[in-house]
Amino acid sequence: MNHGFFIAFNRIRQSQPKARGFATPIHFCSFANKTRLLGLLTAVAFIGGCDQLDPPAFRLNMVEAVSNETSTEYQQEIADVLGGLFGTPDEPFALPSTGLDLGKLRIAAGPVWSDSAGKHLGLYRKHCVHCHGITGDGRGPTARFLNPYPRDYRQAVYKFKSTYNPAKPTDEDLHRVLIQGVPGTAMPSFSLLPSSEVEALVEYVKYLSIRGQMETELIRYVFDELGEEEEEDENGNLVMKRYPLDPETDADQREAILEILAEIVDGWNASSEAVIAPEEAEIPEDNRAPEEIAASVAAGRDLFYGPRANCVKCHGPTGLGDGQQDDQDNWNKAHKVFLETLAGETEPELVAAKSVVADSLYPVRNAIPRNLRKGVYRGGRRRIDIFWRVYAGIAGTPMPGSGPASAGAQGTLTDTEMWSIVDYVLSLPYEAPSQPQQALPENPNAVTSAG
């Protein structure tokens, strides 16, 4: 393990941006200037990026960095450590202990091209980057325009999965999301891609997640363990001494970092044991009599409006999603909290640093409970999909789970009750609303502004 780690850190130097055919375009630009028309065209192209010489690079999580007062030196060191552990967008790397398949990562990463056997490479940049961003931070060029925003993978929180709320998704869950897309959002379906390519993309999503988790943990590690301290030098004067993040020479740091990584990876590996398996006996038959279904729907309705499940609190008395609308999902809430701390900040230096980051954030949006009368289910429309949503809630959003929080724990509702709710939810689009009205959000302010 330690050996692998050394290799990883030797990679830091190798992983420094390597120009890939980027020197020639400058040459081309000056060549083009000879022809007047083309010269002008190139000037326009310049805006488009003739001057961009660096290959794409991962960006640091500035919200975390600024919140934890990470100095620029530490930021660089963290970027170096991450570079050693995970490589670059063009040349991904993963320690064997992460369990990530480097072959798949290489297919998904890098620029778009096809080899002579017809194998497609650079899949992430071809299909995902314009929404999810090169770092997987959900900040691709188009992200600003989308609602909900594309997923920021770096927290490793996923909404539509088969596992308990805090658990990571399984590979099959991510695979399913890619194949089906997320109906009702910008996230498209990739059902036309061969499944080998989808698998490579799933691997890459996990890679970006693990990298993002590691980044946050490193920032916290630096905040907790390292920093500057006043120290006496040999003449007895007080001087500031900085403890650098340098796992290459510091064995303790190396061990600590590897431990953090192992913990993150364990979380992912545990996902297959955290899959919610409904009790066999309680799963409703496919060929139930209409009366049986009607009874189940009625029971589900009672629960929906009852105090125990209390779905009505958010989804509203009509199921139109017009209940509580002033909460945010994890991602927007983090930004909201960040903006609030900025508002309460008094130290001018921190105000300046935080303002720069705050300016780059997109507007905070509220989590609007789903309009259940549309019959559009983002996480899938099978009964088992809805069951998982009701059981575990939707991770990262205000939607709570009604089942046990982990295997063996006590849930609010029993399996039978949850299946009834599933029946009721699936019948809602066909139920005549007592009060026909336009689906909320009617008020765009509720969507775009912070509470």
């Binding site: 190139t42 326009v44 990026g49 961009q52 967008p89 691709g140 060029p141």
Partner: protein, 337 residues
């Protein structure tokens, strides 16, 4: 110089039409290459995966290789047609400047091919951007050739006396048409930036994309207003009425395709969800998505070419002499840049 043999010159016109008709699908397929991100299906150029152009087993290729090699084949075909055009023009066309223009077309297609090839060999998105802007320019050049060699052009020349006293109304109409052409080309350029800019993975990507999108929308508004005004003025003056209507129709289609492009790529825009809640899921690279997006690219070129054709014809009707027009058109492209 009066034309001596109309049958022969008519042949030039026919051939120019053939070339323009072959170039439009080329623009379309070029758009498809970008839509399906097939530009780097091969890393070599002139050869495709080591095969020479005609010996590559194109019909048994699939996906991006089929699209990209198809684009290369079509490009070669247009190159061939351009060579024939030069031959035909130099043999049958009495006007010197038209002959030279056919050479310019040949030079254009070669330049465009080399640009496309360099884009592949260097794997440079900026060149793809330029290639995507010069493609529609080349198409417009072909359409201009069609206009210049037409019977209408020669007839119109014998009707108007070369008087330099144009009234102000005419000047305004012509100016409107030229502005429309410039705007259409600017739209093409911004569209190309949206689709190709290599900065789209950089840290400036969000602001670049936003700026480009807003600018694209603003220009779209200007093109619509300008196009409608132009068509209306044409109608008032009884000049180029049919072309004017054609332009308006194309712009309308283009606006719809533009909105469609957004919807099939990104879903219902946020501001529109008040009226139209998104209830569907897009499928990446399905037929609907690729065809709408690619059509938006191709119809953009058509709008440009139509506006240019109208400008040229109006100029002719107002008796502006030829050298000045050809000067104007190259100036025009520069202004649009």
């Amino acid at each position: 110089m009066p034309s001596t043999n109309t049958n022969r010159t008519r042949f030039v016109h026919t051939w120019a039409c053939v070339l323009a008709c072959a170039t439009f699908p080329l623009v379309w397929v070029g758009g498809l290459v970008t839509t399906t991100d097939a530009g780097m299906a091969f890393r070599d150029w002139l050869t495709s995966d080591g095969h020479f152009m005609l010996s590559y087993p194109w019909l048994s290729a699939v996906g991006d290789k089929f699209v990209e090699h198809g684009h290369r084949l079509l490009g070669a075909a247009v190159g061939f047609l351009s060579i024939v055009l030069v031959v035909v023009t130099w043999r049958c066309e009495p006007r010197r400047w038209v002959r030279w223009m056919s050479l310019a077309i040949l030079a254009g297609v070669i330049l465009q091919g080399v640009l496309g090839g360099l884009r592949v060999v260097l794997d440079e998105r900026t060149l793809a951007l330029v290639h995507g802007c010069t493609g529609p320019m080349f198409f417009s050049l072909c359409v201009a050739m069609v206009v210049f060699t037409s019977q209408w052009w020669r007839d119109a020349g014998s009707q108007t006396q070369n008087q330099n006293t144009q009234n102000r109304k005419q000047t305004r109409l012509l100016r409107l048409a030229i502005v429309c052409t410039c705007l259409a080309f600017a739209q093409v350029v911004i569209g190309a930036i949206l689709r190709h800019s290599p900065r789209m993975t950089g840290s400036l990507a969000p602001s670049l994309f936003q700026t480009a999108v807003y600018f694209h929308l603003l220009l779209a508004l200007l093109v619509v207003v300008n196009g409608l005004l132009l068509a209306w003025r044409c109608f008032q003056n009884g000049m180029q009425v049919r072309s004017g209507m054609c332009l308006v129709g194309l712009i309308a289609v283009q606006v719809i395709l533009g909105a469609g492009t957004w919807v099939v790529k990104y879903g219902v825009p946020l501001w529109a969800t008040t009226w139209w809640e998104m209830e569907f899921v897009n499928t990446q690279a399905n037929f609907l998505q690729s065809s709408i997006i690619t059509s938006h690219v191709a119809v953009g070129s058509l709008v440009l070419a139509t506006a240019l054709a109208i400008s040229l014809r109006l100029a002719r009707q107002f008796g502006i002499s030829v050298p000045r027009i050809s000067f104007d058109t190259s100036r025009l492209a520069e202004v649009a840049l």
